[in-house]
Structures are given as C-alpha cells and as structure tokens.
C-alpha cells in the first residue's frame, strides 16, 4: 500500500503541538527538509530529542518551536557552538528551554530500549561522572547476578511520539535501505509511535528485495513516505551528495544574533514554499559541486534457489 505524501501533508498528518519528536541521523541523512516544514507549519511546545541537535534543532529553537531538548552533544559539528541553543539556555531567547542531558551511548541506548519495548537498559557509562547527580532518569541498579560489578547504571526507554528519518531509497510503502553512517536512525524508527520516512528516491520492490541485508527499516514501522531529493541538505546522503560544509559555516555567522537567525529563516524557510523552491534558490551549480564521483560496491550474489 502506498504511503506516499508530499512533505507538507506528511508533517501535517504526523506532528502535533507538544509532542516528543526525534529527527534521526548522525551528521549523515539529517531530515532538514522535514525540519523546515515543521517550522513553516508553526508547531509549538515540542520536545526535541536527538543525540546531536545540529543546525536543524538550532533553527527549530530559533523559530520558537521547541520547549525542551533531550540531547547528548549540542554543537555545530567541526565548527563550534549551536548559538541559538546557547541563547535559549543562557539568555532565554526566544524563550527558556528545558534540557535533559545524556552522553551518546546513553541516548542511543534509550532508543534501543524503546525499540525493543523494554523499560530500560544497562550500560557502563556515567559512573564517576556528574551526570547521575543532575539527571534523575539515569539510575543505578543492583546487579542481580554474581560478577565484578555491584551496581550498573540504567537509562529509561525513549519512545518518541514521532520519528522523522531519512534513507537513500525505499518502496512506496516504506521498506527502506540506507548505507554510509547509520547513527541511531534505525533505532529511532523502531522506537517511535509514528514514523515519517523521507528518501532520496522511491524504487521498485525488486530493487529492495535484490539486497535484503540492506533493508534496515521495514514498511511495518513506517506511516508516511516522502520522496524528497536533496532533503538532507546541508547534511548529506552517502553516494548522492556531500556535506555542504560551507552552509554550516554560514549558519555559524548568521546565528550570532537572534535577529540574524530570523533573517535566515525568513529567506530560506518562510520565504520558500517547499524543498523544491529551496533547491532552486540554492542553485543547481551549488548542488553539482556537492556531487561525489561514483564508487560502486562490488555486487554480491544472493543466489537463485
């Protein structure tokens, strides 16, 4: 069954004010087009969970959509600070935000517990650190077995209301293949109640079935499918286009003041109807500059039995 929607329709159907949302992707495959559509539709009071908030959450915070952030590293990767995030924390601009803070393994373990419908999972982080003192959700559990550890930290399941994830390709019903850095995308998709899948291209089921080991997200967890080429820019899609590092540096400049962020949002989010208009504004030359040379994997033989 086709679950195809345009981005406007998928976001309208999936997202509501006050929800907890998880936009997946570790540097790679970040759903920027979806984030911009959330800003355009003007949602409020969102709890924005994500290991690496990145520019997309900085932009959502600057737009006033976010009340709380659940995260493990809030920076502009390779560049420096997330300035809108910091302004919200340090100066309450545009308004104060609540923080719930983990480390990377803590947060992805929360998603893994959520994906498996477990109440919590243990991990060997946080002992000796100051996290336990400042985050009541990180707790110590007595080891019920014999062994060298008497106590082990546990983190609670994270089951977002909505996850928005990207992949390179999928069928119309949402069986998706992705390659390159996977981050926490698959765990987020399995943990969330509602999943919006946005892909570079829709392919026939034959393509997916020819390489089943690469199908990390099955149609059974996906609610809406959006075909959105370049939907991760300025993040990237392995094999399709590279990371637009220049855009990450530009945001660093532009976000030095709250007014600067509003100017940028006016131009690149509110000022365009959809991703297609964003891409036209970006110009084909800029996109061509991001195109990698081809580097095909050697095909495997699944055998015909």
């Amino acid at each position: 069954m086709s679950k195809l929607r345009d981005m406007e329709g998928a976001i309208d159907a999936a997202v509501e004010d006050g929800q907890t949302m998880y936009l997946g992707g570790f540097t790679h495959l970040i759903p920027f087009a979806a984030g911009h559509e959330i800003i355009r539709q003007g949602y409020e009071g969102l709890t924005a969970a994500r290991a690496t908030p990145d520019l997309i959450y900085d932009q959502l915070i600057a737009a006033g959509c976010v009340d709380d952030v659940v995260f493990s590293w809030a920076g502009n990767p390779g560049v420096g600070s997330l300035r809108a995030f910091r302004r919200a924390v340090e100066e309450e601009v545009p308004h104060a935000i609540g923080l719930e803070e983990y480390s990377h393994f803590g947060l992805v373990t929360r998603l893994e517990a959520g994906a498996r419908h477990l109440p919590f999972l243990p991990l060997r982080s946080y002992v000796g650190s100051d996290y336990i003192e400042h985050n009541d959700a990180i707790r110590l559990l007595e080891n019920p077995y014999d062994g060298p550890l008497n106590e082990i930290p546990v983190v609670p399941a994270l089951n977002p209301d909505v996850a928005i994830v990207r992949a390179q390709r999928a069928t119309e019903d949402g069986s998706a293949q992705l390659w390159g850095i996977l981050g926490e995308i698959v765990e987020a998709a399995f943990a969330a109640d509602t999943v919006v899948l946005s892909v570079e291209e829709i392919v026939d089921e034959d393509v997916i079935r020819s390489d089943p080991n690469r199908t990390f997200i099955p149609d059974s967890v996906v609610d809406y499918v959006v075909e959105e080429p370049y939907g991760s820019h300025p993040s990237y899609a392995q094999g399709y286009y590279g990371r637009d590092n220049e855009a990450y540096l530009t945001w660093d400049e532009q976000s030095q003041s709250h007014d600067g962020t509003q100017e940028w949002l006016d131009e690149w989010v509110y000022g365009v109807e959809n991703r297609r208009e964003y891409l036209e504004k970006l110009t084909p030359e800029r996109l061509l500059d991001l195109e990698p040379k081809t580097n095909y994997a050697t095909p495997i033989d699944m055998g015909e039995y």
Binding site: F26, T27, H28, A51, T52, F71, S72, W73, A74, G75, P77, G78, V79, S81, L82, F85, R86, V89, E90, E101, Y102, S103, H104, F105, G106, V108, T109, E112, L123, R124, S125, Y126, V127, G128, S129, D130, Y131, H134, P148, L149, W179, G180, I181, L182, G183, E184, I185, V186, E187, Y236, Q238, G242, R243, N245, Y248, P292, N295
Partner: protein, 252 residues
Amino acid sequence: MPPYTDTELMITRAAQELEDGDTTLVGVGVPNIACNLAKRTHAPELEMIYESGTIGSNPSQLPLSIGDPVLASNAKSVVPMTQSFGNYLQAGRIDVGFLGGAQIDREGNINSTVIGDYDDPTVRLPGSGGACEIASNTHRTIMITPHTKRRFPEEVDFITSPGYVGGRENRKELGLRGGPEAVITDKGVLRFDESGEMYLAAIHPSSTEAEVQEATGWELTVADDVSETRTPTPEEIALIREDLDPDGIYTE
C-alpha cells in the same frame, strides 16, 4: 612560515603516544591530524574508529566533522552507534581515546558540559557526545588542549568524562577501564603518578617550568627526570602542511 607552530608541535607529540597496531577512537581537528600523521609515519597498522560508527576509516581528505562521508567510503566496516559504542568501545576493543575539553583537573577529569553552575551556567558547552564513554572504556586516554590557567583548574566545574576520580584505586573500584595516560598541551606533556595525580613530565623547547606552573591552577609536581620535547622533524611538518591540513584549518 616558522619551522613549526605550537599546534604542530602538539600534533607531532600526540602522534608519538600511538603505537603501531593500536585501535584508536579519533576526534576531529587536532587529534584527527595526529592519528593520520602516526598512521603515515611510525604506525601504519593504526586502526582508526570514529564514534559515528565507521571502523577502520581511511579518509582521502581531512574530514570537517566526525560524520563526514570520507570516513564511510573505503572504511573496513560501518555499524550503527549502538554497536560502535557497545560492541567496540564498551567491550574494551578500543585501545586509545583522544579527548579535548574546556577544563581538565589534577585527576584528569574532563569538563565539556558547563562553565559555572550546571543549572545556571555562565557558558553552556556542547556536552559529552561520546566523551564520557571514551574516558570510561578505552585502555588509554590522551588529552590534547592549550595550556591556560582557565583550562587547568584544580577541580573541574562538572565531570563529563571521569579521569582518576578519587585516585587510581578508586577508578578501578568503580569498574572503569584504563584511565588518562597523558595530557599534551602547547607547553609540555603531563602524565599521572601512582596515586592518579597529574605531573609535568616534559617541557616543550618554547616553554619553561615557570610558565607551565603559571598556567596551571594548582601546585604542579615536576618529574625529577623532566625532559625536553623532541621538536617536529621536517618530514612531519611537510606531511602536516602539504597532505593532512593543506588549508591550515587546524594548524594556523
């Protein structure tokens, strides 16, 4: 151009901490250049792992972030973060971790979370990322940071990544693996004594013992056999300037 800069000296000195055959979890920037320099000089069998889940990366160019596509292309394996952190790092399969931080204290505890009070910070820093896990689970942690009094307080404002919290014995009792091995600064090399306290082990030619003490927030013990750091070779400098960071993004 000078024969070498402070940053280039930090890079070449940090590279020497890596042994051939080590598996190392690489951070961006200066650690990344140090690891790639080691791989191209004395440690060709160095295996580079990035917390984004790329195992045995072989980047054709210096990545801006730890999630760049060059880290995945031609890597030995790419795995989800639950596996890079779980099966590799937590399971003890990574020898060396490189970390930076806004503050490092006398026990080698690192703060990359907040300056000031946690609930009302003067500066909100990015947070742990994978640093807490790296400091807890690698066999050796190497820190690289500029040497200033602000960065070397006696106690950090927030322990993001545990060093020898309460001493070497206490770290072991807490069930934490390994521990801080060395701190490479632009003034010298610091190591940790039997109790787990940081001391000055080597001084860079451009610095003095008094300068190091002036830039440290507690009375620093100096090793009896404190040595002078070897200066970078012309070959190392050529590799850094021509191949690893030709645009001088991290070294200028």
